[in-house]
Structures are given as structure tokens and as C-alpha cells.
């Protein structure tokens, strides 16, 4: 990956992480709104816990779209797909039917073939109640062989902004 190679020069020797990691820009977190429908709730009257992973993925999809990357094009033109390889979730409070949620995406680390992101879910409203947070790690793979693939240079360049 060119961006990584370019970073691997001698003057970076004192900073071990700098020669193996692409740069991470200082963008504000991306935010996406999600409405809670009947389908998202369970008999407890609140959002079923597994559905936060769906909400978080919707936000990541819209974040990539906002950067100019359509995942169907990445797949059809570059055989490239992102897959979740790890997710650590904390469920702070319950969200309910009809709540409008704000789901954030912030990149926390960029690997050769993976991205680590922090994601928060808040209920939109006066209290801005924090309902869920997650650390999600997505790997970039070949959509057909499932082998790891370097993150595309275009995505790295966007992330460095």
C-alpha cells in the first residue's frame, strides 16, 4: 500500500507506530439518524440488544457513502468487502419504540487491512440519553476469496483528511 510505504522513512524511527500506520485525520464524528420501529423492539418494550449492531452498521454504511464510497461498487468493481471481525458493546440504557437515535462513527485506528471505530448511540431529545457504545473492528477482505486486502488508497486518503 503506497500510503504506508511512503510513511516508512528513517526520520520516523523514533516513533515506532508512525512507520506502520497510515495517518488518521481529525474529522469530527460522523452522525446518522435511525428511527426505532416495532421490528426493533422486543417484549421488554425496548430495542432488542442485537439490533444496535444493525444500527451501527447502517451508520458505517452512510459514513462510507458520505466519503464517496459505495459498498456495492467496492464489491463489484474491486471485489472488496468490509466485514466485522470484532465488536465490544456496552448497553447503558434502553431505547424505546419511536425514539429517534443518533448513531456516531469515529475512526480510532487504521491498520493495514482493518479499521477500528468507536460508535455511540444516543436518543435524540432534551436529555440526549446515551444508550449504547461500541468498539467495532472491520477488516477489508476480498469478497470472493475472503482473504485480507489492504485498505484502498482512496479510503486512506479520505481518512487522513
Amino acid at each position: 500500500m503506497d500510503a504506508q510505504k511512503r510513511a516508512g522513512n528513517h526520520s520516523d524511527a523514533a516513533s515506532p507506530s508512525s512507520n506502520c500506520k497510515p495517518e488518521l485525520g481529525s474529522r469530527a464524528a460522523f452522525e446518522w439518524k435511525v428511527r426505532v420501529y416495532y421490528e426493533d423492539t422486543d417484549l421488554g418494550g425496548v430495542v432488542y440488544h442485537a439490533n444496535y449492531l444493525r444500527f451501527m452498521e447502517r451508520a458505517r454504511t452512510e459514513w462510507l457513502r458520505s466519503l464517496g464510497f459505495e459498498q456495492d461498487m467496492l464489491r463489484s468493481q474491486h471485489s472488496l468487502q468490509f466485514v466485522v471481525i470484532g465488536a465490544a458493546l456496552k448497553f447503558h440504557r434502553p431505547a424505546r419504540f419511536n425514539d429517534e437515535l443518533q448513531v456516531s462513527v469515529s475512526v480510532t485506528d487504521i491498520g493495514r487491512a482493518s479499521l477500528a471505530m468507536h460508535q455511540d448511540v444516543h436518543v435524540i431529545g432534551a436529555e440526549h440519553m446515551h444508550v449504547c457504545s461500541g468498539e467495532v473492528c472491520a477488516a477489508c477482505i476480498d469478497a470472493y476469496t475472503f482473504k485480507p486486502r489492504s485498505l484502498p488508497r482512496e479510503i486512506l486518503m479520505e481518512l487522513a483528511k
Copy 2:
């Protein structure tokens, strides 16, 4: 499809349907058990209506398996896939968390490239409560071109038993 061609002889002329329809055997309905989990319920405390379509498909998958047909093999070896093209559902009573359901499959009509099935969902228990019924039509298509495909002869032979 050979089975259909063979059936199309002159002696069948008086019976218009017999030369375009494979035979339907007299099997009893296939039955499959499904447990209701948290994920299946909504805030009303009952099974979310769309999930009955999922339960009905589980039963159809297990019914095909019971006849000796694995859908992953049909797909990988014969590029063949079943897709639902129509479903008419009636929701009679609600099923609840922890209920054990019995989902039936009965073939009601066999077309050249489609199957019509009646499916019932009951709560297993003293009252055998009838919660949902559906008429589901599944078409046989090529898994890659999505074009209609004749039902495989092996399946027709099983259905005629």
C-alpha cells in the same frame, strides 16, 4: 422437463390439467417445531408479524431436507434456488415468548417452475391454538441469472409419492 413432457400424451386430452401439471402425492403435511425467543417478539409482547414468514421458511427448508434436498447443494451443483414470489398470510391470534410452535407445510399446487404451499402455525399445547396461516408460492429460478427454471425431476418424483 421430462416428467411433464411424458405426461403430455393424447390419452390425457380429456383432462386438460393433467398434461401441464405434475402429479401431487398424498403425503401428510410436514411439521416442524420452532421456539419463540426474545428476538422474535415486539413491544406488544407477541411475535412480530413479519417473523412468521421466517418461521414458515424454516419449515420449508426442513421439509426439503426431509425429502433429501439440501438447498446449498441445489445452489452449488445445479445453480438452482427457490424464491418466494407470493405469500398471503392471516394472523389469527398472537403467539408469545417461549411458546413452542408447530409449523406445517403442505403442497397445494405444482407448476412448471413453482410450488404453492399451505402453511399453518399452531402453538403446541393443550389448546393447539392456531396462530397463523399462509399460502406461499415459491418459484424455482437460476441462482445467478434469476431466470425461471423447471422444478427438478427428482423433486417432482418425491412430491408425487
Copy 3:
């Protein structure tokens, strides 16, 4: 229900339906956009059939909201809930990941305690491809006893506009 009682006068005698049915206005169909995410697809690469029932309910929820009715308020303040009691779906063509769908809601019949609606799903784009249509019947029930309840007068008045 007052709206229905008022309609039951003598001058309507020649029109049997008019004294048992509230009026249906001439609103254009309500439209709601739904994006297809990974969670909505299956291994066939297309939207899993049961998910159209979820999309249709999202549109109905937003349609009620557009008329001024929040279902969480109907539930908490009036113990009133809508439940789907019937749905007849036709799946015309497959929608795919990343498609933006337009889901419509048109009331086709108003009963004492139920609403019949026609819903269409199109892919937004040059071809406006028609992917799915459905006739959905929702009953108005008490959220706790599950017994039928007359449609609220406020909703009937909105539907008559």
C-alpha cells in the same frame, strides 16, 4: 363510534355501504424512503422476502406520524394499538443492497375496527422498478386486552380528508 353513528341516517338508505363505513378521502398515496442495508439482504444477494413486511410497517408508522398520530402516545394514552391481521404480498423483482426504495401507503377500505391498505415498493431510480406490492389489513385493538377497538374518531377524520 360517533363518526359512524352520524353517518347512519335515512337519506343514505339506498346506499347500504354508506351507513356502515366511514368516508375515505382522496389523498394521494403516502411515500416513504427506505435504504437497503446488509442486514436486509440474504445470500441470494437480494432483500430477504420477509423484510418487505418490515419496510411496509415503517412506511405505515411514518404515514400515521405524518397525520399527527404517534403510536407510542396512542398506546400509552389510549391503550390502543394497531396489529396486522392479514397481508397478501407479491414479490415482482428483487431489490438489492444499497438500493433506495420508495414504499407507499394508500388506504383502500375502512372498517369499524380495521384499515385495509395497499402498499407498493419501488426502487428509486431511472426505471422506478416495481419490486413488491401488498394488501395489508391492520386491526385496532386494546393494547392490553387485545380486544378490538373502534378506530379513533380523530384518525377517521384525518382519513376522510
Copy 4:
């Protein structure tokens, strides 16, 4: 909670953890089988990542049932409900349509009002492929006030076996 109070005697002083934690028995992991259906897959041809949380909850439900605890009874008779408050998942390899999965449950820690569990998902078969693992923390709450509740003594006694 009585079990905890009884444990808090002086002879335990040298073992700080013993007076605040109920005992954890030496049961083998509970195992539950889950079949992968169309509904569980996504366009990548594999199980959609969020669905592993559903599979893990099915296994926990069946594990509680195997110990003699039905969650609908806990809810209706004791106003008691378990909710997931944390989950850390690693997705090692993809599971596919038609795979039969084995989902395990092992209690790793018992708190006053919570349970920590390790759960593994393997594909049943010659290779016993490890597809997913998770650390799941469930809290015991009042089903109506959502306030924390001590784990019922009966459950603690079962867990100590």
C-alpha cells in the same frame, strides 16, 4: 441476598472475593444447536454478524430452561428479567447457510445482580470450525422498573452445583 450474606463470615476474611461472590460450580459448558437459515445470511453468503447475538441468546434461554428456569415465569411471577449489558464478540470465520452450529454457554463470573458468560459458536462437522466467541454480561432487573435485582437464590443454587 441470603446466599451472599451467609457467605460473609469471618473465616473468609483472607479471601476477599469469597464474601462478595456466590460460588461458581464446575458444570461443563451447556451446548445448543442452531441451524443457519436464509434469514440469517447476508449478501456476502455468510451469517450476518449481528445474528450471532441472537444465536447466543437462544443458547442462554435454553440453558436457563435446562436448569429449570422459564423466563416467561420469572417475568410474570417474579417481575424479573435478564438484560444484556455488555457483549464482546470476536468473529473468527464465517458460518454459512445450512450450517449446523453448536453454541455454548459457560458462566465465568457471578455478581450480585449479574452474570458473565463465555459463549463459543462452532460449525458442527469434521473440522468443528470455530466461528465466533463472545463474553456476554447479563444483568438481572425488575421487568417493570428496570432497576437492578439480586439474582434469585434458586438460580444461584443451580449455578453452584
